[in-house]
């Protein structure tokens, strides 16, 4: 192998009889480097985006939600809540009452999900109430479950998402009519219940899913809207390690007893993360094409080199260099080209990612919902990219090195 390396390395460095081969070799190295660098950078960005999105998403919502399997709501929830707060790895818990509603303002209306909360608790498990951009969530505060003091408002307050507010055309201070399909049973059949609320805050989380359909009100008001005295539908939790949400969820389930189930943020956003993963794979494949083009360059460079060196190959064989050794000489040459290109590409890719991480590249926050390009380079990406680059290049060297090994010395040295 030492002999093969000696020849291959010298061939690579030496001046060419045909300048073209040298140029194509240089282009191959640059091509591999460019492909590898763009893969590293693109993966760092998609990774950063994903991490960014995940952080904001997970910040907005709870990590684990506990519900009844039957969906009939949790009665007598205060002792249960206290008990579950003590489960290891649980850092916060908050009760909530969800319900599907229609929110209307004049002639315009939109369907949504109203959540009755205790704001003090809710803020410990989700950021949505902290992202109020107009008005204030503090208007929900005066509610005090222990003193039972009634609201100062004659009309109960509500905080809604910005997209919802735009859909139905409301501003702070406007009144909205919230209608629940879970109506009361009357002699005339099931009559939908409705209640007037006053918009005290509009939040914007950046997630359309929340901004277009979520609304918050005080737990008491939600209970009275749904005519469910002292019932909640969910207990939301924050845990200390969000990647262990599923495990903590199972512990909570077991602690809560029969008839309960949990979901976690990963399950709830599975589609989103699957789409992100798919996007990342597609990006990878598209950029891997650059590497393939570079590998094609290697193929061309090596094929031309073999043609240029046919006579020298024959000479080597004439004094006993084996066909296998000749094959390895050219395999090594292709490998050297691709190793040099890959190493350069890794340095360039991680270098630029580092620069991008330390000197943020500004973005228009109004369009991209983040104000800079996030870079999150991972070591593992580099390993995969390097493996792909070296593997593809190796495939590209198979043909030229094979044809070098097939040179017939008696033919190649006959006429000259």
């Amino acid at each position: 192998m030492r002999f093969e390396f000696f020849i291959a390395a010298r061939y690579l460095r030496a001046k060419r009889r045909q300048a073209v081969v040298g140029v194509i070799t240089a282009i191959s190295v640059i091509g591999v480097a460019a492909g590898v660098a763009s893969l590293i950078i693109a993966l760092a960005i998609t990774n950063g985006m994903r991490r960014d999105l995940q952080e904001r998403l997970v910040g907005s919502t709870s990590h684990v939600d506990l519900m009844k399997i039957a969906g009939d709501g949790i009665r007598d929830w205060r002792p249960l809540l206290e008990r579950l707060r003590k489960v290891p790895h649980v850092v916060a818990a908050a009760p909530g009452l969800y319900g599907q509603v229609l929110i209307s303002h004049g002639a315009r209306s939109g369907g949504g999900l109203i959540k009755g909360v205790i704001p003090r608790d809710e803020k410990t498990v989700g950021d949505l109430l902290q992202s109020v951009k107009q008005g204030s969530a503090a208007e929900l505060e005066p509610f005090d479950s222990t003193s039972g003091s009634a609201a100062m408002h004659a009309v109960p307050p509500i905080v809604i998402g910005q997209d919802m507010a735009e859909t139905i055309g409301v501003k702070i201070g406007d009144g909205v009519l919230v209608t629940s399909p879970q109506g009361a049973l009357t002699p005339f059949g099931v009559v939908p219940r409705y209640q007037k609320f006053q918009v005290v805050g509009i939040f914007k989380s950046g997630f359309y899913q929340y901004d277009s359909s979520y609304a918050f009100t005080r737990l008491k008001d939600a209970q009275s809207l749904f005519s469910e005295p002292d019932l909640i539908s969910v207990i939301s939790f924050k845990v200390d390690d969000l990647y262990h949400a599923d495990r903590v969820g199972r512990v909570i389930e077991a602690e809560a007893g029969k008839g309960f189930q949990t979901t976690n943020w990963m399950e709830q956003n599975r589609e989103l993360f699957r789409a992100l993963k798919l996007e990342q794979i597609v990006t990878f494949i598209v950029l891997a094409l650059i590497v393939c083009v570079a590998a094609l360059n290697i193929l061309i460079a090596l094929t031309m080199m073999v043609m240029e060196k046919t006579r020298d190959i024959a000479v080597l064989m004439s004094f006993g260099v084996r066909a296998e050794q000749v094959r390895r000489i050219f395999l090594l040459q292709g490998f050297l080209i691709s190793v040099i290109g890959t190493v350069l590409g890794l340095i360039l890719g991680y270098g630029l990612s580092w620069v991008g991480g330390h000197y943020p590249f500004p973005l228009d926050a109004a369009i991209y919902s983040i104000d800079h390009l996030p870079f999150a380079p991972r070591i593992w990406d580099g390993v995969i990219v390097a493996a792909v680059s070296l593997g593809v290049s190796l495939i590209a060297t198979l043909y030229p090195s094979g044809s070098a090994a097939k040179v017939l010395p008696a033919e190649a040295l006959r006429y000259e």
Binding site: R2, F6, M317, F319, R322, A410, E416
Partner: protein, 267 residues
């Protein structure tokens, strides 16, 4: 016959030498028996029957240890083809080549390569030095190929470059050498493995008269000093006459040009 202390061949010492005496020692180094080589030349019309070119049929050759055999013959007679067969660079259509105890046509490609590396030194009309490497590296190449340590190989190469009178040109690339020097380097490369047989195909064919003389003189001196066994193809009758034997390749046969009266003067 060989005095190892006399190995320091002085290239400058030119001047024509007397013909070498016919070697008495009968150890056969290389033997060709019933060699036949037929090229099925590609004729444009398929189906018109393969137009075959028969170079030789039933050719026999024995080369004894210490002998220097000249092969002459018209252009296209098949001299180069014969040397290729002797070096296991090509396979005969029929017949066998033996080198010592090994039958060349029985070798696997790998064994044939090892045979060329160990037992054969080959010199062409053209020097065929690898331009990317220095003279010493070129000479060391057959040793490096068999896995010898670089330092040891280069030391041997330096010795053989000294033997061909180029001790001071070890670090030069082939492009920096004259035609005669290039051919001497290629001779050193052929001899560095101390092969059983040296095969030279018109080794002076590309050189001008004076340089050709010098190179042939060198081959002759090395032959004596190192007790080589060689087969040389040449068009130069004067050079051929300086060998132990002169064989002429004619109509697919090798005939002794000296003993066969009909051939004398027709070489």
């Amino acid at each position: 016959m060989i005095d190892p202390n006399e190995g320091d061949v002085r290239f400058e010492n030119e001047g024509s030498l007397e013909p070498l005496p016919v070697v008495r020692e009968r150890t056969v180094v290389m033997r060709a028996v019933g060699l036949t080589k037929i090229y099925s030349t590609v004729s444009g019309k398929a189906g018109s029957g393969a137009a075959a070119l028969e170079l030789f049929r039933g050719l026999d050759l024995k080369v004894h240890a210490g002998e220097m055999v000249a092969i002459v013959g018209e252009s296209g007679a098949g001299k180069s083809s014969l040397l290729h067969l002797l070096a296991a660079l090509d396979v005969p259509t029929a017949g066998e080549v033996w080198c010592g105890e090994s039958r060349l046509s029985g070798l696997t490609p790998k064994q044939a390569a090892d045979f060329r590396n160990r037992d054969v030194g080959y010199v062409w009309q053209f020097h065929y030095l690898l331009p990317e490497f220095t003279a010493a590296e070129n000479v060391a190449m057959p040793l490096l190929a068999r896995g010898m340590e670089r330092a040891a190989a280069l030391e041997k190469a330096a010795y053989w470059l000294g033997q061909v009178g180029l001790a001071d040109r070890t670090a030069n690339r082939s492009g920096e050498l004259s035609g005669g020097e290039q051919q001497r380097v290629s001779l050193a490369r052929a001899l560095v493995t101390e092969p059983k047989i040296l095969l030279a195909d018109e080794p002076t064919g590309d050189l001008d008269g004076k340089t050709a003389d010098a190179v042939f003189g060198l081959i002759q001196r090395l032959h004596e000093a190192h007790g080589l066994t060689s087969v040389l193809v040449t068009h130069n009758l004067e050079f051929a006459e300086r060998c132990n034997r002169v064989l002429k390749l004619r109509e697919g046969r090798l005939v002794d040009a000296r003993t066969s009266p009909t051939e004398a003067g027709r070489v």
